[in-house]
Symmetry: C2
Subunit: 272 residues, 2 copies
């Protein structure tokens, strides 16, 4: 199964475009978990257990695990082991380095951790991206328009009358000879989203920024999906995983995930 | 002491602009080291012992240590512990992420590991860079013109008649309110180097690409230094640390480092 097929397959099976972001911070999880040997892993495994049948993907932001020091590496591995094989995993690493270093990052993220995909930064060009996209069964999401305020600093600069991110997208299309590349487009950018989807009718879009960052669900679904109402991977992190701070945190995360999945599906029914 | 002062001070004390890149790959180090408990750490400590008085900085490329799995974190810490306090340390991480994630990466690299500086990617803008530059005693090197072939894909695109990297540099100058930011400029880009130095007469430039990547020492010194012949941090990795594959590897790395430092200093004497 190719990477694109894997996304479409799980989105249909689980009737879900929802990706849950496991941006787990030990300072924010319920206090009663702190007696566990690895509280972050315990938290993640319960969140996954509670949401695994209603998501298409889990995104693990490696910043949160690097900050844990030497145990972070093992926590990522054990968290990945809890995720069903058919659910897409995204290593949110945003790496970008020269060829030989990029190969090492790719080996670590795609082979050793065994993520199905990861996020990469385009600034250093093709040799920084290529090593993450060698395997057709796996994929890489290249940063195009990000959800943060700083996106405006460079991504919108005019290059031949068009914003830089459009040039990034045109270039990523050329690199996509194995049909396993996608793009990161922030949910906080609805007008750009429509334009991006026109430029890449078939590519998967990883869309962060729903929930805590304030992105709009309706326009994300309307403009982020392909013509079949699929191939948008809509990520929410904090609003799902921290839905409750009590004993019921996993159940509450399921309720929050179900609500967002259903809201997304209602808009899919409306627009597709 | 500010970050800029720390660079100038060690460059004068050691009469050296040379930075040694500890891009240590266990597959490339002398075979007799493999019996050690942590061969990479043993290798690094001997290279540092052999070169610590003739360099201004060590650059640790985190890609190589992430690829080691959970032990990589400890190897980085133990390697840093071997480096004299006055020598600048650079965590070559090329991170870039939205505000809250960037804060975690910065905490890990600047506080937990305690690197004096690190490399960051500008594509996501100010909130992705800011967390790495909160402490005036430490600094961040923002990617401007990189040494790899992919640099041409986006960094040279014309924005208002000037290449994108010049816009990055102009923006980094604005962000530099604490005077602790620098730029990464590849040694494989001599004509760009001269232009960059005109734009930022006082900023430190981290210059990779000498040695294995083929950058030219003469033009790097001529165009990369400030008016006093300082503030260029000229990195070589493979050509120094793998100078010999035998029992004499540390001594050979010292010879290679001394030769390059002296070559750099000869050009400094010629041009400044």
């Amino acid at each position: 199964m190719t990477f694109y097929q894997a996304i479409r397959s799980i989105q249909r099976e689980h009737k879900s475009l929802l990706c849950v972001g496991l941006d787990t911070d030990v300072r924010k999880i319920p206090k009663f978990l702190l007696s566990h040997r690895d509280p972050v892993q315990e938290f993640n495994s319960r969140i996954i257990e509670a949401t695994r049948d209603i998501v298409c993907a889990y995104k693990i932001n490696l910043a949160f695990y690097e900050a844990m020091g030497e145990h972070g590496w093992r926590t990522v591995q054990q968290t990945l082991a809890c995720i069903p094989e058919e659910v897409v995993t995204i290593g949110d690493a945003k790496r970008g380095d020269i060829g030989n270093s990029a190969e090492l990052y790719a080996r670590s993220i795609m082979d050793d951790y065994n993520f199905a995909s990861c996020t990469v930064n385009p600034y250093m060009g093709e040799d920084a991206v290529r090593p993450f996209a060698e395997n057709r069964a796996k994929g890489a999401f290249v940063l195009a328009v990000t959800s943060n305020p700083g996106a405006k600093d460079f991504q919108y600069l005019s290059v031949n009358g068009k914003p830089l991110y459009e040039r990034v997208i045109a270039t990523v299309k050329k690199w996509n000879t194995k049909r396993n590349l996608g793009l990161v487009v922030g949910a906080t950018r609805p007008s750009e989203m429509a334009r991006v989807r026109k430029l890449v009718p078939e590519m998967p879009l990883l869309i962060p920024g729903i929930g805590a960052q304030g992105g709009d669900v309706k326009s994300t679904v309307r403009y982020g999906c392909d013509v079949r109402g699929e191939m948008a991977i809509i990520n929410a992190s904090r609003s799902i995983i921290y839905a409750s701070n009590g004993e019921d945190f996993a159940e509450a995360s399921r309720m929050a995930a179900m609500k967002l999945r259903d809201e997304i599906n209602a808009y899919r029914a409306q627009f597709f």
